[in-house]
């Protein structure tokens, strides 16, 4: 019988402003069983309690750089979900 080695993947998710209030936290870790994109991580977030208040395609930053929904995540990434900006 063959053994399948499953490599899991954990990313740090940061939430701000109204999104942090919606999910009642500013940060959480998400662990996946295999390769995953920003969009797939978002789907997981939106399934959490309060997560329905996140839009399907919010502004996201991956390790401080703006990211696309299709950007792949790697172990240890910092994924920030950004509400509409309101500086100035």
């Amino acid at each position: 019988m063959a053994t399948t080695v499953t490599s899991t993947l954990t990313v740090r998710v940061l939430l701000f402003g109204s999104y942090a209030e919606a999910l009642e936290r500013g940060a959480l870790d998400l662990t996946f069983s295999g390769p995953v994109t920003v969009g797939e991580a978002l789907a997981r977030l939106r399934a959490l309690p309060g997560g329905e208040r996140l839009p399907a395609k919010p502004l996201c930053a991956l390790n401080l750089q703006q990211a696309r929904m299709g950007s792949p995540l790697t172990e240890g990434d910092e994924l920030a979900i950004l509400p509409p900006l309101a500086g100035g």
Partner: protein
């Protein structure tokens, strides 16, 4: 110099950072907490930021301005709780050419508003609270004057 501060913004300090005997023209912009937003009376604000990204993006914006025009730029954004009349953001651009000073100052404040990850929670006189820039606020903002 860091971009974010929790302390009151002192324009004199920002001026001192870029003023020099070779730069005869200094354009500045101050963004002040207003007493109204989308027709509602505002009593205060709470600014928060994704600090490391805000620092990186603001550095980028200043570098862009300084490479595009012959200017030295200083820039500060306050975070935390602010009252009406408090300075939320200040930009100073100093140059030997006043055209460059004005253009760079304008560029920086526009880009800060567009690109820097900062959020604003507004507290209104009627006791209500709103994240500005969220769906609801954007809806209202379409028909309202905004800084």
């Amino acid at each position: 110099m860091s971009f974010l501060t929790e302390d009151p913004i002192d324009l004199g300090c920002l001026l001192a950072l870029v003023q020099s005997p070779a730069r005869g023209g200094i354009a500045s912009f101050l963004g002040i907490v207003r007493n109204h937003q989308s027709g509602r009376a505002v009593v205060g604000l709470d600014y928060s930021a994704y600090a490391p990204m805000a620092e990186a993006v603001s550095q980028e914006i200043v570098s862009e301005a300084e490479s595009r025009w012959d200017v030295a730029v200083s820039l500060l954004h306050r975070i935390g709780k602010l009252s009406v009349g408090d300075t939320a953001v200040a930009v100073v651009a100093a140059s030997a050419h006043r055209d460059d000073a004005f253009l760079a100052c304008r560029y920086v404040i526009e880009q800060v508003k567009r690109r820097v990850p900062i959020w604003k929670k507004e507290y209104y006189a009627d006791g209500s609270v709103m994240w500005v820039g969220s769906g609801e606020a954007r809806e209202q903002a379409r028909t309202a004057d905004r800084i």
